[in-house]
C-alpha cells in the first residue's frame, strides 16, 4: 500500500482526563523519524530500525529535558489502522504530559490532525471496508462541526479580539505594499522596511504573550465542562455542595441567591468534571440577577454536559419550559430534586415536556441529538447522588459523553498556529534585515495572516484585494 498522504499527523487518542495513562498517536511518512528525535531508549536504540508491532520502553525528551517515561508502540505501513507508519506513545504522567508530548511531536514536524483525519486516512488507504464509507463521511463532518464549535467557544472574548487586531494590522501593511507594487507610479514603498520592522516587532511581542498564556494551569484543569441549571431555588447549589462535599455555594431559601456563576473542579471516580453552578433561570427585573441568567445561557451553549435540577415538589411552569428548550438538544441529565418532599413532577411529565421542546425548536442538520437521562435525587439529604455519579460514569465509559479530546487538540492546534505565525513574522524581519525587496515581505506577512485566521476560523478569501481597494487610492 503506498502512502498517499505524505505529511505526518498527530493527536491525543485517549480521552483526556486526569486519570492515569494517555496515548498520543502519530501517523504518516515521517512518523518514525519524528519519534526518534524525541525518544531516548537504552543503548541509543533507534525506533526507525525496529520491527513492526513491537513495544519499546524509554523516555520522551525535549532539548535535554525529560518529559515522561513511556512505552512506544510501532506499526509499519501497511499494517496499522491508517495503513501508514504509525507510532503510539503511551504516557504515564496525566493530562499535562500527554499534551506536552503532542506539542513536542508538532514541534519536530508533525501536524495536529484534523478531526476525523486518522479515520479518513484509514479509509483512503483502503484499510476500512467500503461499507463504512458513509460512516466515515459522517464522522468527519460531525467531528468538524464539534471542533469548530469548541474552537469558537474557546476563543470568545479577549483572545479572539487580540488575534483579530493583529490580523488587521498585518493585512493593512500588506495591502499598502501590494498597492504600491500594483501602482508604483502612484505609491512609493521605498524604505518601508523600517516602518514595517517596528510594526512586526510589536506584533511579535503580542503573539509571544498569547503563546505564554496557552501554557497556564487553566488548561490542565479542563475536564468535562458541566453546567448545573434550573429555576431559582430548585437546589442547584445544594447539588454542587453534595458533589463537592463542602459548602461553597451560598445556600439559602431565598430564590435568586446565586447571582454569579461558580466554577468548581471535581474528580468523579476518575472523571474530571468542570462544574459550573449558575444563577436560577427565570424572567427577572433585577439587573444583576439578569446578567447571571444570561451568563448561564451562554454556559449551556458551551457545555459538554448539563445537569438540570427540577424542584419536583412544585409544578412545572413557563421558566421550566424555557430551560427544556435550551437543553433538549444537549447532553443532559435531568434531576428531579427534593425526593425527600412530596413530589408532583414525575418522569412522564419530564419526557412529555422534552418532546414538546424538541418539536418547538429547530434542530439544525448535524446538530447533536442525545438521549437525555432522568434521575430522582435529594440534594439536601444527599440521596440519589451515588446514582447520579453512576449515570455520569456510564455516559462516560458507555461512550455517551466521550469527553472530546477536541478541546485539547484545538488548543494544541491554536498553539501551533500561533507559533507558525510567529515564525512567519520572524521571517519578515529577516527579509527586512537582509535588505530584500519589499514584495518579499508580503509573502510571509500573508502566511502569518493565514495562520492566525486558522485560529479564528477565517480564511483569506478576497481580504487583501478588499483591503487594497478600501484603504488605498489607486491610479488610472
Amino acid at each position: 500500500m503506498n502512502q498517499k498522504y505524505s505529511d505526518t499527523i498527530a493527536a491525543i487518542s485517549t480521552a483526556v482526563s486526569s486519570s492515569g495513562i494517555g496515548i498520543v498517536r502519530m501517523t504518516g511518512k515521517e512518523a518514525f523519524e519524528i519519534a526518534d528525535k524525541i525518544y531516548v531508549g537504552k543503548k541509543e536504540k533507534h525506533l526507525g530500525d525496529q520491527k513492526s508491532h513491537t513495544i519499546h520502553y524509554g523516555f520522551i525528551e525535549d532539548s535535554g529535558r525529560t518529559i515522561d517515561e513511556v512505552l512506544v508502540m510501532l506499526m509499519r505501513a501497511p499494517h496499522s489502522y491508517t495503513g501508514e507508519d504509525t507510532v503510539e506513545i503511551n504516557c504515564h504522567g496525566g493530562v499535562y504530559v500527554v499534551k506536552k508530548v503532542l506539542e513536542i511531536l508538532i514541534k519536530y514536524g508533525a501536524r495536529p490532525a484534523e478531526p476525523g483525519e486518522f479515520t479518513k486516512r484509514a479509509f483512503l488507504n483502503g484499510k476500512l471496508d467500503l461499507s463504512q464509507a458513509e460512516a466515515v463521511g459522517d464522522l468527519i463532518s460531525s467531528q468538524n462541526e464539534y471542533a469548530r464549535q469548541s474552537s469558537v467557544n474557546q476563543l470568545k472574548g479577549s483572545v479572539k479580539k487580540e488575534i483579530n487586531e493583529i490580523r488587521k494590522e498585518i493585512i493593512y501593511h500588506t495591502a499598502f505594499i501590494e498597492t504600491a507594487l500594483d501602482d508604483p507610479e502612484h505609491i512609493n514603498v521605498d524604505g518601508y522596511g523600517e516602518t514595517l520592522k517596528e510594526v512586526v516587532d510589536h506584533l511579535l511581542a503580542k503573539i509571544k504573550k498569547l503563546l505564554s498564556t496557552c501554557d497556564n494551569g487553566r488548561i490542565i484543569k479542563e475536564g468535562i465542562s458541566t453546567v448545573i441549571v434550573g429555576k431559582p431555588n430548585a437546589g442547584k447549589s445544594s447539588l454542587l455542595n453534595a458533589l463537592l462535599g463542602e459548602e461553597r455555594a451560598i445556600v439559602t431559601d431565598i430564590a435568586g441567591t446565586t447571582r454569579d456563576v461558580l466554577e468548581e473542579h471535581i474528580n468523579l471516580q476518575g472523571i474530571s468534571l468542570n462544574i459550573m453552578d449558575t444563577a436560577g433561570i427565570r424572567n427577572t427585573e433585577d439587573i444583576i440577577e439578569r446578567i447571571g441568567v444570561d451568563k448561564a445561557r451562554d454556559h449551556i451553549e458551551k457545555a459538554d454536559l448539563i445537569l438540570y435540577v427540577i424542584d419536583a415538589s412544585c409544578a412545572l411552569d413557563e421558566n421550566d419550559r424555557e430551560i427544556f428548550e435550551m437543553i433538549c438538544n444537549k447532553r443532559s441529565i435531568i434531576l428531579l430534586n427534593k425526593s425527600d418532599l412530596k413530589t408532583i413532577v414525575k418522569r412522564k411529565d419530564v419526557i412529555d415536556e422534552l418532546e414538546l421542546a424538541k418539536n418547538k425548536i429547530i434542530i439544525y442538520e448535524n446538530e447533536f441529538n442525545y438521549a437525555i437521562r432522568i434521575a430522582e435525587i435529594s440534594a439536601k439529604n444527599e440521596s440519589g447522588i451515588k446514582e447520579l455519579e453512576e449515570i455520569v460514569k456510564e455516559m462516560f465509559f458507555g461512550g455517551e459523553i466521550s469527553f472530546n479530546d477536541e478541546i485539547y487538540i484545538t488548543n494544541v492546534r491554536h498553539k501551533a498556529a500561533l507559533k507558525s505565525a510567529y515564525e512567519s513574522l520572524c521571517k519578515v524581519n529577516e527579509s527586512i534585515e537582509m535588505n530584500m525587496p519589499e514584495d518579499f515581505y508580503s509573502i510571509d506577512l500573508m502566511d502569518a495572516y493565514e495562520s492566525l485566521g486558522n485560529i479564528t476560523g477565517e480564511t483569506i478569501g478576497e481580504d487583501l484585494v478588499n483591503e487594497i481597494f478600501s484603504k488605498f487610492c489607486m491610479g488610472k
Binding site: 463521511g137 463532518s141 525587496p437 514584495d439 509573502i443 488610472k476
Partner: protein, 639 residues
C-alpha cells in the same frame, strides 16, 4: 430593441469558428483558431476599430505585463504588435524583487490597431467581416451557427463571444447619454436577448475613461517629464532586443489640487452616478476622479499623467482623471490642473455601461457549461483591461480549436500562469465589478515571473501548435545554458586571496574570513553574477542574443533560491488537490454528510477538481474531506 428581419439566407461557405468581436480578445481568439488550421471568420461592427484601444494608451503594467509575456510565450500576438508600435517603454518596479518587475509600454494607438488589423487580414484561414451578429443558433444545447443583422446565417462548429463593452452599450456624462459603444462606435443591441433566451445570466457593468486633450494647448513646463527606459526590453521573446531601441516620447506628470477638488465636490449632484442614471457596477481599482475625491477626502492632491496617444495625433490622455461629470464641469476641473490652464478637450470623458456575463457559467476552458461549442472571453466575461481580454481570447481560441479536433482543453492552473489565476478567479469567484489582474492575486508569484514566462509556457505553446519548432529549440538551448552554468557554479570556490578581497571591497561588500563558494557570494544583495566575473575564471561564452536573459535567470535562481524552494513546496501541495479530478457526472445529492450549502454550491459551479471545489466560497475543508472519501469510494466501487 427587438430584432426582426424579413429574409433569412444561409451563407454556404463552410466555417469552423465564428468569432464575434475584433477587440483584443477577438483578435487573439481568431488568430489562434486560424493558425491551428480552422477556417475562421471574425465579425466586427467596424473594421476600422479592430484592436482598438478606447481607454488608456498603454499595454502592460504591473501584472498585466506578465499576462502579455505569457500570451507571447503561448504563441499569441499582443506582445509582438506592441513591440512594433510602442513609443515609450518602462520596466516598472525595477528596484523590487524580480517577481514584480513588469513591463509597460505606451502605444501608438492608431498604429497598434492598424498593425493588428494587417496581421488578421494576412492570416491564412482568417476572414474579417463587418456586420453585427444578432443571434446564436442552437440545437439541443449545441451551437450550430450565428445569424447577422441582415439575416445571413453562418454555420460553424464553435463560436467565441468577444463582445467587449459593446452589448447594449451606453455612454454617459452629466445628463447626456447616448446608446453607443466606446468612442462613439455603434453598439450591439440585439445579441443580449438571444443570449438570455439561451438561459445565460447577464450582468451590467460600468467603466469610464478620462478626456482626450489637444497637445498644443498644454503647458509642459509646469509638469515633470517622465522618460522611458534607456535600454528597452521587448515584450515578445521572439523580438530581437536590438529592434526596440528606438527614440521614445515622454509622458508628463502633474497634480490635481484643492481647487480641482472643490469644483468636483460642488458639482457632485450633477454626476450621473449620484442622480442614479448609471445602474452598472464600476470597478474599485479604477475610480473616477469624483470617486477618489469623495472616498479619499483627506488627500490633498492626486497624480495626473498626460500621455501621448500616438505619433500622428495631437491628442493626449489624462491618466488619473476619468470622469462622468457634465461637459462644463470637465472643462472647469481640468483647467485647474497646472499645465492644463488653457486646455482644449478633443473628446469628453465619459462612463460606459454594458452587458456582460457572470463568468461562473463557464468551464475553465471558457466554454459555457450548458451550451456546447459556445466559448466566451474578454470584457464580456466580466474582466477589464486589454491584456486580460487578450489572454482569455487566446485560451478560448485554443480551446475552441481543440474542441473541434476532439482534444482535451488547455487549462492553466494557478501555479502555472497569471492567465491561470485570471481564468480560475473569473469562473470560480463571484465578482460584482470588472475584474482586473493584480500581482497580489497570484499566490505563487515568485514562480510566475515575467522573465520566465517562456520557460513556464512555451513548451505548452509548442505542443498546442502555436510556437514554432525553431523558437522551442532556442528555448531548450537557453534552458540548457542556464542549467549547466548553475551546475558549474556549484563547484566553484574562492579563497581569501588579495584579488577576491579587493573585488569585494570595490563592490562595497564585507571581505571574506574564510573560503566561500561563488554561489554564496552571488547571494549577497550587493553582488551579482556579473560583478564576480574576474574572480571566476572558466566561465563559458554565452551567445550574444541570449546572454542577458541567461545571466538574469542565473542571478534570480541563486539569489532567491530559498524563497523559490518554499513556493515550489507550496505548489506541490496545491497540485495534489488540483490533480484530483471530479467526474462530470457526479451526483452531489448522493454524497451523504455534505452540508446543504456545500451541495448547492457544488451543483452550481460543477468544479473540475477538488482544488477548484476548495476555492468555492461556502465549501468548507470538512466538505472537501467528505468529498474525497466519496470519490475514493466510487473509484473502489468501479474497480
Amino acid at each position: 430593441m427587438k430584432y426582426s428581419v424579413n429574409s433569412v439566407w444561409e451563407n454556404k461557405d463552410k466555417y469552423d469558428v465564428v468569432v464575434i468581436g475584433a477587440g483584443h480578445a477577438g483578435c487573439e481568439a481568431a488568430l489562434a483558431c486560424a493558425r491551428l488550421g480552422h477556417r475562421t471568420i471574425v465579425f466586427t461592427v467596424s473594421v476600422d476599430s479592430i484592436a482598438l484601444m478606447p481607454c488608456n494608451p498603454n499595454i502592460g503594467g504591473s501584472s498585466k505585463g506578465h499576462l502579455v509575456r505569457e500570451i507571447d510565450a503561448l504563441g499569441g500576438e499582443m506582445g509582438k504588435i506592441i513591440d512594433r508600435t510602442f513609443i515609450q517603454s518602462k520596466m516598472l518596479n525595477k528596484s523590487k524583487g524580480p517577481a514584480v518587475h513588469s513591463l509597460r509600454a505606451q502605444a501608438d494607438k492608431a498604429l497598434y490597431s492598424r498593425t493588428m488589423r494587417q496581421v488578421l487580414e494576412n492570416e491564412k484561414n482568417l476572414e474579417v467581416k463587418q456586420t453585427e451578429v444578432v443571434k446564436i443558433l442552437v440545437d439541443k444545447n449545441r451551437i450550430t451557427g450565428v445569424q447577422t443583422l441582415s439575416g445571413a446565417v453562418y454555420r460553424c462548429q464553435a463560436i467565441i463571444l468577444c463582445t467587449g463593452t459593446y452589448l447594449k452599450a451606453r455612454c454617459i456624462y452629466g445628463d447626456v447619454s447616448t446608446y453607443t459603444g466606446p468612442n462613439g462606435l455603434q453598439a450591439a443591441n440585439y445579441l443580449t436577448d438571444s443570449l438570455k433566451e439561451l438561459g445565460i445570466k447577464m450582468y451590467r457593468f460600468k467603466t469610464g475613461t478620462p478626456a482626450r486633450i489637444d497637445k498644443n494647448t498644454v503647458d509642459f513646463s509646469k509638469m515633470e517629464e517622465q522618460l522611458g527606459d534607456e535600454k528597452v526590453i521587448p515584450f515578445s521573446f521572439a523580438t530581437n532586443p536590438d529592434d526596440v531601441q528606438i527614440d521614445q516620447v515622454s509622458c508628463w506628470l502633474t497634480y490635481t489640487n484643492k481647487e480641482t477638488h472643490d469644483i468636483i465636490r460642488r458639482n457632485l449632484d450633477r454626476s450621473p452616478l449620484f442622480s442614479g442614471m448609471i445602474e452598472g457596477t464600476g470597478p474599485r481599482y479604477c475610480p473616477s476622479i469624483e470617486d477618489k475625491v469623495v472616498k479619499f477626502a483627506d488627500k490633498e492632491r492626486h497624480q495626473v499623467f498626460i500621455e501621448p496617444e500616438g505619433l500622428e495625433t495631437n491628442e493626449m490622455y489624462i491618466g488619473g482623471m476619468s470622469s462622468s461629470l457634465p461637459e462644463d464641469v470637465q472643462y472647469e476641473m481640468y483647467r485647474t490642473v497646472p499645465g492644463l490652464e488653457n486646455v482644449r478637450i478633443v473628446r469628453n470623458a465619459y462612463a460606459i455601461e454594458y452587458d456582460c456575463i457572470d463568468a461562473r457559467q463557464l468551464k475553465p476552458s471558457l466554454e459555457f457549461k450548458n451550451i456546447e461549442g459556445l466559448f466566451s472571453s474578454g470584457q464580456f466575461n466580466g474582466s477589464s483591461g486589454y491584456e486580460e481580454a487578450a489572454a482569455q481570447g487566446l485560451i478560448a481560441g485554443i480551446n475552441a480549436s481543440r474542441k473541434i479536433n476532439d482534444l482535451s482543453p488547455v487549462i492553466l492552473d494557478r501555479s502555472e500562469a497569471y492567465i491561470g489565476v485570471l481564468i480560475d478567479d473569473l469562473v470560480t469567484k463571484e465578482s460584482h465589478e470588472p475584474y482586473r489582474m493584480m500581482t497580489s492575486r497570484a499566490e505563487y508569484r515568485l514562480l510566475l515571473r515575467q522573465d520566465n514566462a517562456d520557460q513556464r509556457l512555451s513548451e505548452k505553446g509548442y505542443e498546442i501548435g502555436l510556437i514554432s519548432k525553431e523558437r522551442y529549440e532556442k528555448l531548450k538551448f537557453k534552458e540548457k545554458l542556464i542549467e549547466n552554468e548553475i551546475k558549474r557554479l556549484e563547484h566553484v570556490t574562492v579563497g581569501t586571496t588579495g584579488n577576491v578581497q579587493a573585488l569585494l571591497e570595490k563592490c562595497g561588500s564585507t571581505p571574506l574570513l574564510s573560503g566561500s563558494t561563488i554561489i554564496d557570494l552571488i547571494k549577497r544583495p550587493e553582488l551579482s553574477y556579473e560583478l564576480l566575473e574576474e574572480i571566476d575564471t572558466g566561465r563559458p561564452e554565452f551567445p550574444t542574443e541570449l546572454k542577458d536573459e541567461v545571466i538574469e535567470q542565473i542571478n534570480i535562481a541563486i539569489k532567491y533560491d530559498g524563497y523559490i524552494k518554499r513556493q515550489k513546496k507550496q505548489v506541490e501541495h496545491f497540485k495534489k488537490l488540483e490533480n484530483k479530478k471530479i467526474p462530470e457526472n457526479i451526483n452531489y445529492d448522493e454524497v451523504k454528510s455534505l452540508r446543504i450549502e456545500a451541495v448547492q454550491k457544488l451543483k452550481e459551479y460543477c468544479p473540475i477538481s477538488i482544488g477548484q471545489a476548495s476555492r468555492i466560497s461556502g465549501v468548507s475543508p470538512a466538505d472537501i474531506s467528505v468529498l474525497l472519501v466519496y470519490l475514493e469510494e466510487k473509484t473502489r466501487c468501479n474497480n
